[in-house]
Each structure stands twice: as C-alpha cells, then as structure tokens.
C-alpha cells in the first residue's frame, strides 16, 4: 500500500520505518526545517536504538522517502504529529478532503486529547467513506521499533466498517504477538490511552511516596515492594521507587490528561503525582545537601546516567536535569557520565563551565565527593568497587534507582544511601 506519514518526532519515524519494512511504499512528510537536516542530525532518530539504521536501510531499498508537503497521493494517510499541532492536522485534512473525495482513510496517532478524532472527522464526509481512525501510539522510548512491529495489543478507535477493514489490512504484518485487538469508539480509545498512562504514573508516584516514608521509618522499601508485588492484585510492574520519572510523551500525556480534569474544575490525583514527581527529581540533591550539612560549595559530585531512562539518549524531562541544575546552583563541580546522552546533555549545558562530560564512568568519579546514580544503565550495576574507592575523594554513593547492594558497599567502606532504604 502507499502510505504517507505526517510528523517529525519518534512516533512518525517509527511508524514510517516499520511500515516500509513490511513492504509498504512509505513517504514521510516533516516540516521543511527537518527535511533539510541530514538524518543523523535528527535527535528522534539518534536517540532511539536501531532506528537510524532501520530508516537508512528502508531508504536504500527505496520503500521510504522523505517528501515535501505537495505529495498527497497515498492509500492511507498516517498522522503522527505533536500534541500541539492540531491546527496542522486540520489543514492537512481539509486539503485531503478536497483532493480525495471518496474512500479516504486517515489514521490518527496524535495525542490531541479526548474527542479530537471526532472533531477531525467532522471535516470529512462519512457517507463518502472519508474516515479517520484513531490508533493510540503505545511506543516506549528505547523499545519503540519492537513496540510498533510486535505489539501485544492494538486499539482501533473507529465505528466505520470500511475504515476498520482497511486499517486491519495495513496493520496485519504487526499482529503476530497480538493478545488484544480492541475495537472501540475513537473517543473511548483516546480516553483509554490517557487513562493507562495516568495509571502508571500514579503507581510510580505511590511507590515513591512510600519510599520517602520508608526513609523516615527504618524499613527497606525494597522488601516492602517485594511484598506488595507478590500480591497478584498489585503485581510487580511499575513499582520501582526512584528519583523521579521523565520522558517526553509520558509526561506530556499525563500533564494533558490532568488538565482535562482541571478544565472541569476538578483537582486530579494526577496533578499531585506530577508535582510530587518534580519534587522527587531533586531527592538525590536533598540527600546530598543534608549529608554535607547544607554546604556543597566547591564540592565535586559525579552523576552516573543522564538520559531519562536506560536505552535512550533522550534527556526530555529527565531527573538528571533538575539534579544537575540544583548542584550547579550551589557551586558544585559536576562530572557526568552517560553511555548515550552526553551529546544531548552537552547541548543543554553548553553555557555552563562547571560541568565536565566524561566518556568513561570512572573518569567521572575521580576526586569526587559523592556519586549520584540517576539512570540505571546496565553497565553501572556491577562496578569495580576497589577502583571507585581509590578514585573517589569521599566514598559516598547515593543510589537513585536502588541498583546497588547496601551491605556489599558498606562492607567495602562506602557510605550508601538509596531511595527508601
């Protein structure tokens, strides 16, 4: 099939890559500014493991092309715009409605909020089979390609039989692992999408709150967590306490869903979760501040991990940013290591002189007064303790993801602090 993808971020590129790989003839249309960029300069591609290679491969086969706005010939139009680009979506749909008077299928993957797909449908004529279908994007940064091509669930939000059948044909190659293919109205699908994201955020918010309480009550949150997870009604997923969550789409979605409540005059649980999460991002700073009795001037502090989670170079809303800001504001010399995100971090802090970007994790801890573990990249899990002891000025480890074994570290002579333990 001929598919045209509209958008410039991760969702758009992943959709384009996966559909091209499945044999479709795909065009991707981004803004002119992006069209002029070489692929490796586009951060959405660079930050996602395997994506840049896949895009280049599909372009070599000729199944994937970048295009300007004028090409509109396609069987399916796939909207993967940013949440604040609804006007752009409306413009595209107006043009398509005129150009393709019958049998026009548009797939909407954008998070415009509950009811947005219905509003876009109003531009079109349902009788003439001009239809728009909502398929929520479930991709997770770091696992985006797999999430698109082998999902275990897909939701199709539409009530138009012709549109549903055509959409099914398009997504057929991606249904091998499917456990749930859900059909509902686009409005319900939009609501569900946001409800899931909110639920996950609330779980993380709750376990963080418990961890902060555990800190003050001489219990180990890891033990508590195990106990909670053993109850099948609770389960283990999204139950790791830590120094806050980040990421672009996750944060945007819960923030927007929370706004939906507020527009109806209700303070939401989500709003509290969001604001508490911002506080949680400074947890490691607070522990350090208290340890050094409110004086961090001229200290050297190491940060391991800057991306908002392992497996991505993205630092969008990352806890590391708030932490580093807080440290710099106190006159701390910050030495940071991250296997992927240093480039993005360098861009973010290009005016700062008091921060060093280290390509080697051990370079980052040299002469350090504390190590703050922010992102649990696999390479940090079993470090060379003896080398750390030798290199650090003060053997203090504050573990924002509870990946280290307290007893082992203390046996080696480290001072150890985790989250809730």
């Amino acid at each position: 099939m001929k598919v045209k993808v509209y958008g410039a971020d991760l969702t758009a590129w992943v959709a384009a890559a996966c559909m091209a790989r499945a044999g479709n003839d795909v065009q991707i249309e981004g803004p002119q500014s992006q069209l002029e960029k070489p692929l490796h300069d586009i951060s959405a591609l660079r930050d996602e493991p395997g994506l840049l290679d896949q895009i280049q491969l599909q372009m070599q086969t000729g199944r994937l092309k970048r295009t300007g706005a004028q090409d509109i010939e396609a069987d399916i139009h796939w909207l993967a715009l940013e949440h604040n680009e609804i006007e752009k979506a409306q413009n595209i749909i107006h043009i398509l409605a005129k150009a393709v008077p019958e049998n026009l299928l548009i797939v909407n993957q954008c998070n415009f909020g509950v009811g947005a797909t219905d509003e876009l449908q109003n531009i079109l004529s349902e009788e003439l089979n001009q239809a728009i279908v909502y398929i929520p994007s479930n991709l997770q940064d770091g696992k985006a390609l797999q999430g698109f091509s082998q999902p275990n669930r897909i939701t199709i939000g539409s009530e138009n039989n012709w549109a549903i059948t055509t959409t099914r044909a398009l997504i057929k190659p991606f249904l091998q692992n499917i456990e749930h293919l859900l059909l509902m109205t686009s409005r319900e699908a939009e609501f569900t999408k946001l409800a899931i994201t909110g639920m996950l955020a609330i779980r993380i918010g709750y376990i963080n709150e418990l961890a902060n309480l555990a800190d003050q009550m001489d219990v180990d949150i890891e033990t508590i967590r195990e106990g909670m997870g053993a109850d099948p009604r609770v389960g283990n997923h999204y139950l790791s306490p830590g120094c806050g969550f980040g990421g672009l789409s996750f944060n945007q979605n819960i923030a927007r869903f929370s706004e939906t409540f507020e527009k109806r005059g209700k303070d939401s649980l989500l709003k509290t979760v969001i604001s508490e999460n911002e506080i949680q991002k400074e947890l490691l700073f607070k522990k350090l501040w208290q340890h050094y009795r409110c004086n961090l001037t001229d200290k050297t502090v190491s940060v391991w991990g800057a991306s908002f989670k392992p497996g991505t170079a993205s630092i969008d809303n990352a806890p590391s940013l708030k932490l580093i800001d807080a440290l710099l504001a106190q006159g701390v010399h910050v030495k940071v290591h991250d296997p992927e995100a240093l480039g993005n971090l360098l861009n973010h802090y290009h005016n700062e002189t008091n921060i060093s970007f280290c390509n080697n994790a051990y370079d980052a801890i040299k002469d350090s007064d504390a190590l703050l573990l922010v992102t649990e990249w696999p390479e940090y899990w079993s470090p060379d303790y003896l080398k750390m002891l030798q290199d650090m000025h003060i053997p203090l480890i504050i573990d924002g993801r509870n990946i280290f074994d307290r007893e082992a570290l203390e046996m080696h002579g480290f001072t150890y602090m985790g989250v809730g333990r």
Binding site: E282, W289, Q290, C294, A326, A329, Q330
Partner: protein, 547 residues
C-alpha cells in the same frame, strides 16, 4: 516669625473669610468649568480638585504661600541630598533610590547612585535564586514561603504594594507565597507557622537598626521554630533560612546572618520612605524583579514631575496646598482615604504612617512650639466597605472631613464582562459618594421636603485621584505623589517630616515596665499603671495555680 504671621498666610486667612461660608453647591452653580480649571494630570495620575472648597483665587494664594516658603528651593534641597532632616543631621534621599542607574548623584563626594544600584542588583540575584527554586532550606527543599518580618516602614510599604500588585506575578517565576509579620505579640507569626513547612520557609528580617524589639522578637521565635523542627544547630538555621535587610550589617551578623545573606540600605533612607530600597524585596519576590523596577520607574516619573513642573500644575504641590487650605483655613482636621479598588486595601494604613509619622509634629525646624495645626487625623478603608461603616458620619455627622477618593479607570480588561461590570459598579459608587458629599441632597429635586434625619448637608470637600489602570508603574507614581505631598506640607509648616522622636520614649518606658511584671510594681509608677500591673499579676498567679 512663624508662617502663620507671614503675608501669604494672612492673605489666605482674609480670603478664607469670603469662601468659608460658601457651599460647594453654589460654587458648582457659579462656575460650570470647575472640572477643567481644577483637574490636573501627570505621571499616570489625574487629580480632580473641583470638589474642594476652592476658587481660582484660593489656588493662586496657596501657590503664593508655597513660593513665599521657598518651596522650589526646598524641593531642590530634597533631591540634591541636602540635610533636610536636621534633628538627625542627614538627607532624605528616597528619590535617589528610584533614580535610573545612568544618573549619578554625588552626596558628600560619593556617587550614591552606584551604591544604590549595586544593592538592588544584589537583591535581584537573591530574588532570582529564590524564584528559580535554588535557595535551599535545611533539607534541600526549594523555598515556597517567604515571611517578611518587619514593622512600620519595613512592613506597611511592602505589604501594601504586594497586595496591590499581587496579580502582576509573571507566570515564569516560581510560585512563592509571601507573608507579613509585624506585631510583637507573635499572633501573626503563630498563625502562619501553623500551616507552613519549615524546611521550605525563608524569613526576611527587615530592620534598619537591627535592634527593633518587635522584629527581633518575631525573628527569634521563627528561628526557634526552625531549630525545633530541624534538630539542627542555630548557626546553620541562621545561615540558610534568614535574609537580613538592614543599615546595620554588624548587628545583623552578630544575630547570626552572614554577610552574603544581608542586603543593605543607608541611614539616609527613612523607614517609611524605604520600600524603594532593598526593603522592597518582598515586592520583588511577589511580582518579579522586572515589575519592581517598573514600580521604581513610576515613582521616578512622579519625581521628575515634582522637581520640574511649575507649582500651579504640580500634582504633589497642589495636593499638599489644598490640604493646608482645608486644615489651616477651613479648620478641617480629619482626612479619610478611600480607595475604590480592593487591591488598594492597605493604602490607608500605609498613608496613616506616611502622613502622621512624618507630619504629626508640633515644633518648627528651629525648635519653636507651633500655634497652628499640622497633620490631621488620617484613616481610611476600601470605599465600598467604608460606605457600610463610617460614611454615615461623613454624610450626616458633625465633623468636617476631607476625603481622597482613589480609583483606576479601567480594570479586568481581559477577565470577562461580569468583573468589568463589578468595577463599573464600584466606580459609580465612588463618583456618587463624592458627588453627594460635595453637593448634599441638592442633587435631588425635592430634598427640602424630606424629614431632618434624611437630609444630607454636603459641602464635605474631596479630591478624586484616578489613573488609567493599576499597575506597578502607576502605583509607584501614586505613592511618590503622596510622599512629596507630605514633604511640601512640612515645608509650609516649617517642620521636619523625616524624624519620629515621638515613637521613642514609649519603647524605653515599656522596657522599664517589663521588669515590674515579675517583681513588685514600682512605687513611683502612677496608680493607674500600677493597678493594671497588679491585675495582670493576679490573673497570672491564678492561672498558674490552676495549671
């Protein structure tokens, strides 16, 4: 020779004989151009004096009096840093505080403009740090609550301005809640401490001398509260939860606030004229540094007008001289300040201090006792609320009262028609009240037939002060106008508006009485005070026995 024996004063006295019995109703009937003649504008402010009991001759004679008292030279003396406060042997340079950075001002050979701006810039750095969430409390939390501890000028000005300009907080700055604590009995402080988190609370201790007992008592209680809650030593708490704003750096340091957390101003800044200095930090915290600068710019605009406009068109001069007319020639000794905008609710309290502490004097600059009236009793309230409180007295009581009505012409422009309609309702009330006070029930057709208790005699003079909208700049100009008004009156009355010796003795007597609460009441105390002390002692004893 005191001013009341001067030719210009005598001329006014003679003139007053012909005006005193004239009702405002007659004046408006005789001259339909009063508004055009007696309305003046400058620096955002429009002042309508047409409802004052004046004629064109009155105004001219008042200007003659001002000229006779060498007002233009005295204005210059104020601005140029002459020692206009002789009892404390120093200048009063609040105008310098809002002067743009580029303009140097030499006082005793020093360019104080440089010092002033360096101090403001240091304040802005601290404000930014707090707004950015990077001032940290003892557990590392960013500051959420700031409590301004100060009294008099360290409280009333910042409080009034914060309440007036609260809506101007720019969105990008962190939400900081600013609280004010002044009373020495601790009741305000206790109320606030009950519902704020100690780790994210910062106290600003504002005291010029850093010896003010009211302020230090509150600061000590605040520090104790932090020590108790944190379990940390007092030194650490003093360093991370207190900013001192003072002209006495050593005393602040002795109390425990390190130099880096101090902001300084100078002994030539009078307390009630100090909010333009770093004393205004609470204002900058509430509204942002940029708005604080706008506030200063507005005041500077009025300064320029005051310094350069001819006396007959000079707003602060006219405001002052018409006050003199009312007080000294029409024998009116009460002055009500009536803002018709709830945001200005603290303006009356602010002006009470500004006017009464400045000009509540009865000796001349030379130390001679006066035999003419100076500052009247001044009080006020948000107009629409005052209508339900003391307007009865204004309309039908036996006292003559002069009133200042203050209101912005427009408000709520981007907040919907309902609120705009509410503002218009307030304005309609404002104009109705000043009209009724001036003209009495002559505004009605058949007032004469009403029973006596329903009659409105009118002839109460008022000034209406309006500005386009209330914003940092217009408020700055409004307040500067009143400051200069006070100065002009002091020049006419030949008194020192910049000292306040009348507030000193009470403090000393209080200190000596304090001991008597626990010991035997002293025999040389008057019987009333002694009796009251004994009553307090009895009550405490009974309470302790029960406990």
């Amino acid at each position: 020779m005191t001013v009341d024996h001067s030719p210009a004063w005598i001329a006014l006295n003679t003139h007053a004989d012909s005006v005193r019995d004239k009702h405002l109703t007659e004046m408006f009937a005789e001259d339909t151009q009063r508004f055009e003649k007696f309305c003046f504008s400058a620096a955002h402010c429009l002042t309508d004096f047409s409802k004052q009991r004046i004629t064109e001759d009155t105004l001219q004679l008042l200007i003659d009096l001002a000229a006779q008292q060498q007002l233009p030279q005295r204005i210059e003396a104020l601005f140029s840093g002459e020692k206009v406060n002789p009892s404390e042997n120093r200048p009063a340079l609040h105008t310098a505080l809002r002067q743009p950075k580029e303009l140097p001002l030499l006082v005793d050979g020093n360019d104080i403009s440089t010092e002033i701006h360096a101090s403001l810039e240091r304040m802005e750095v601290l404000v930014d740090q707090i707004h950015n969430g990077q001032w940290r409390g003892y557990d590392g939390s960013p500051i959420k609550n700031v409590v301004n501890i100060g009294v008099g000028g360290s409280d009333l000005g910042p409080l009034m301005t914060c309440r007036a300009l609260g809506q101007f907080a720019p969105e990008h700055i962190r939400d900081i809640e600013v609280h004010f604590v002044s009373s020495m009995d601790g009741s305000q402080l206790a109320r606030i401490l009950n519902h704020i988190d100690p780790a994210s609370t910062l106290f600003i201790v504002s005291s010029k001398s850093f010896t003010t007992i009211d302020t230090l008592t509150n600061a000590n209680t605040a520090r104790e509260w932090l020590v108790d809650n944190s379990g940390l030593p007092i030194e650490l708490i003093s360093q991370h939860h207190f900013i001192a704003i003072t002209a006495s750096p050593n005393k602040a340091a002795t109390w425990g606030i390190p130099e880096k957390n101090q902001l300084h101003f100078w002994d030539w800044t009078g307390g009630r004229y100090s909010m333009w200095s770093v004393i205004g930090m609470a204002i900058a915290l509430q509204t942002g540094n940029e708005n604080f600068r706008q506030f200063l710019a507005g005041a500077h605009k009025m300064d320029v007008h005051f310094r350069s406009a001819p006396l007959g068109e000079n707003l602060p001069v006219l405001l002052a001289m018409i006050g003199i007319w009312n007080i000294n020639f029409l024998d009116i000794h009460a002055h009500a300040v009536l803002p018709y905008d709830g945001r200005l609710e603290h303006v009356p309290a602010y002006l009470e201090q500004l006017e009464m502490e400045s000009n509540g004097k009865s000796v001349t600059l030379q130390g001679d006792k006066l035999n003419y009236a100076t500052c009247p009793i001044l009080w006020g309230e948000v107009g629409p609320n005052a209508q339900h409180a003391f307007y009865q007295l204004l309309h039908q009581g036996t006292e003559s009262v002069m009133c200042d009505f203050i209101a912005p012409a427009i408000r709520y422009q981007d907040q919907g028609e309902d609120l705009q309609a509410q503002h218009q309702l307030a304005l309609a009330n404002c104009l109705a009240q000043s009209r009724l006070l001036a003209l009495g029930d002559s505004v009605l057709d058949d007032a004469d037939n009403a029973p006596a208790h329903k009659r409105y005699r009118g002839n109460q003079p008022s000034t209406t002060i309006m500005f386009d909208t209330l914003n940092p700049e217009s408020l700055g100009a409004l307040i500067a106008m009143y400051e200069h008004k006070v100065y002009v009156q002091s020049v006419i009355w030949e008194i020192n508006p910049f000292d306040q010796w009348g507030v000193e003795l009470g403090k000393h007597v209080a200190t000596s009485l304090l001991d008597q609460f626990t010991e035997q009441a002293s025999s040389d105390t008057d019987c009333s005070t002694k009796g009251l002390i004994q009553y307090i002692q009895r009550q405490r004893k009974e309470s302790n026995d029960e406990g």
